[in-house]
Amino acid sequence: MIDALVIPALKGRKTMARSGSVALVGVGHTRYGKLPEYDAYDLGLWALKEALADSGLRFEDIDGLIVNRIPDYQRFCEIAGLNPSYVSTTPGQGRFSGICIETATALIRGGLATTVALVYGNNGRSGGDRYGGTGDTYGSGGGGQWFAYGMTSPGAFHALMARRHMGLYGTTADQLGAVAKTFRDHAALNPSAVMRTPFTLADYHASRYICEPLHLLDYCLINDGGVALILTSGERACDLAQPPVYVRGCGMATALTNSTFPPDDFWREPMRKAADTSFRVAGASRDDISALMIYDNFTPTVLFSLEGFGYCGEGEGGSFAAEGHLALGARYPANTSGGHLSESYMQGWALNLEAVLQIRGKCGERQVKDCAFAHYMAAAPVVTSIIYGRDPS
């Protein structure tokens, strides 16, 4: 009885923003690949211009700015000609894309800014960034004392986790390969993706080991590029150029103590907390979700995420992926852009952008049918969970 009364009322309000709602209204990205003529500032500015054009907003409409992986906010604002009310610089760690989006949402809800630009620029490929060896500061940077044993790199950290997952649950290399292959198949449908040539499981096994059990094809790409996202209140969003994509729910949780070592629970507990919060705030459940955007620095992280965010049971991530549930056309198409493994190493930013494009229905050949909700999730010592929705409530 109650449903019969409430649902028609809600349907009538679909285009009206709920007070306190926040929406993504502009997205932009650069070309991805090797772009030696651009530094991180250039890439960020390029992406921001694209996002402004997408939204119909102008530079002077931006009153909040968070830059990520771009070294300095002041220099960026000098170049862009911005005097925002709120400004911040965040470290170039992949976990910060989710953190920045959640922070922007809070800034808008809290009245510190009305329109926030999040700007990411990464020239790591052309800049020669290294992810292992004496310059390795992965995570807390606490790993330096283990260099004498040869322990270094985020890849090795995840190789240790993958090996333990294999030992505890029977996860196989074929199952990791299925993740890599599925995302490559998606990238083949994405004109922006850096790596678009499909491969077989045999190709996967033939690719060289970097840190066993992980092959080259288990690792994310290293490429240059930039992404910008613009968020504003639901009320303002309705007047802009694109249909708003609402940040329906956010959650965050951390596991920072002892984080120089891999977590015993594969971050299951912080993922459960972050997921619960985001679903509760969103008023949605996993049944409502049409597409998954999973932070895929390495293939095993996808399995940990599926388990921790509750899409399958503990230890079942490998079989879940190998059964094909993450492919376009299946129940939970994941990383439809190709993700970090095949589209572009934009440290979560391009996955959030993809969530927006999927909900807008602008993904062409890789479009998920009737995508009303998408779920971005990142498994790391700082876990983030973001539920995007087509409708404000």
Binding site: G133, G150, T152, M161, R164, G167, I210, E212, L214, F261
Partner: protein, 80 residues
């Protein structure tokens, strides 16, 4: 006093070289001592393919150069 005994939690094998002084492939193990402390180290006296999660190990010192001694781990025989 910390007992020099523990077990292997996991391991990985480096095929890409990150440090000039270390030739690949080499193996890094994650050890948990019985007191609960965790360490990264290298295994001694055991092939990588024989490693198992939960394998009991005991600490030993290895002089890797005249100036540097590292704490490494070898398989521990359980009481027969």
């Amino acid at each position: 006093v910390v007992a020099p005994t523990g077990f292997i939690e996991t391991w990985c094998i480096f095929h890409r070289s990150y440090f000039d002084g270390l030739s690949v492939p080499y193996t890094v193990i994650q050890v948990r001592l019985e007191c609960g402390v965790r360490l990264f180290s290298n295994p001694v006296g055991v092939e990588a393919r024989a490693l198992r999660i939960g394998m009991p190990v005991e600490a030993m010192f290895e002089d890797v150069t005249p100036d540097v001694t590292l704490l490494k781990f070898k398989p521990r025989k359980e009481h027969q």
